[in-house]
Amino acid sequence: MIKVEGLSKNAGAVEILKDLTLSIPPGGITALIGPNGAGKSSLLHCIAGLDRPTSGMVRIDGTDPFSCPDRERARHLAFLQQSQPVVPRLTVRDMVAFGRWPHHGGRPRPEDAEATEQALRAFELEDLSERPLEVLSGGQRQRALVAMTYAQATPWLLLDEPLNALDPRHAHDLMRRLNDLSHAADERSVVVVLHDINAAARWADRIIAMKDGRIAAEGLVAEVLTGEVLRDLYDTPFDVLVHGGRPLVVTV
């Protein structure tokens, strides 16, 4: 369970997050949606223990990410950043292998190599594994980064706009894989920022909608994805259709 209470975050004079309180139950996919600048990334950074909030508290399964030792935190929660500076000369395998660092701290064991290979297989990266990252396409690179986060083998997985630069097929594959993960027996919990509302509609179990540093709506997919909520959220009218038992959203 992720619990956030009274969380505020200022950057200079600007309030990015305003007194947020929410809880995310384990299991399944929780999608964060909302217009640009709503504070989704900032919230994720605070939960991941990377940015200290101005006030308020965060607990991941009862632990404070800011007082927990760094590597222990990273064995419990993995975070995929939005945009990645690429280190030259790093191969895909090298990159994915870094996901095991919190587990071995610089002295890799055989099981770490095995976990790396498994992550490469899971994201169909075997053929690319010896290629340097800088020659890959944006989508391939993104898959390598997700695979690294996956190799971290954490109960919690936080992803900030992972579908950026992915073509429809790989976007679909990624979401399906996250879906499988989050409903498998060892139950990994996924929190993901999405700009594609229909991806959220198709794959998410819960949706949290944010606007102006506050929570605008939260709940099950059908509760949040209504014409009224979406109109207020994006200041644009939407039609909500139904497709395959799930909502399908189009702008009017």
Binding site: R71, P85, P102
Partner: protein, 314 residues
Amino acid sequence: MVERRVLWLVGALIALSALFLLWQLRAPMGFILSLRGTKLASLILVGAATGIATVLFQTVAGNRLLTPGIVGFDALFVFIQTALVLSLGGIGYATLPSVAKFLFETGALVGTGLLLFGGLLLRDARDLTRMILTGVILGVMLRGLAEMMQRVMAPSEFAVVQQALFATFGAVDTNQLWIAGALLGAATVAALRLAPALDVAALGRDRARSLGLGYDFLMLQALALVAVLVAVATALVGPMTFLGLLAASLAREITGTHRHAAVLPAAGLMGALILVAGQFGFERLLSRQSALAVMVEFFGGLLFLLLVLRRRSV
């Protein structure tokens, strides 16, 4: 394979050193050998310290174009040394035992370097170019301040500073060589111990932290090592801005890896190779003295521009 390339560099350095020592050796052999030996040792020490310091610093700054020299690290050392002469007086400074002096100056550089650059790095972690430019301008300011202090000094004190700052490869105190060697050895071992963590740090601050790396503390440790290494190099021969850039870039090119465990020693070896080869070429083959520093600056600067342009056009 990577390890084999580092071994090749070791071999090349040994061969070159032998050439440097034995080329046209005439009587009195013992005397000439010890003279050349001192010079060779200081060349290797300075080259290795500069190369390793640059790789460490580039990881701290998250930028492959920077050297401690570009952001004014060695200007800070010059400043400290001048301030020391000014406050102790020329005679007071000259009578200090050289070992104590050296250790004190190194300590002062580590302290102020951490305060200045550590503060800068942690505060401006997200605005890299501004941090670099701040460092560059700070370097200009420190050089100006040092020069101002030198102008204010009595001529006798000025002479002491001159001597302290502009020692050449030929005229290095053997005592200093031993301390410098010991410091370099200790710093290298420490840097190699940090190598796996530095690999993670090179992924960038946020990424490294989300992998559970104690990023900021590691950066301070690395920065302290940079300060020690810069002190070693600058105390022996004075500032050389671009040697490190040449050494680090060539080392990455040769090893073809991102792993610090290979790049750090390769950069050290490369720095030593450049200096020994350059000195050998200029002094023995062209019989020109002290042109080395200017040439290193020239080619290093060209390399910098090339790297900027290539990086931008990718």
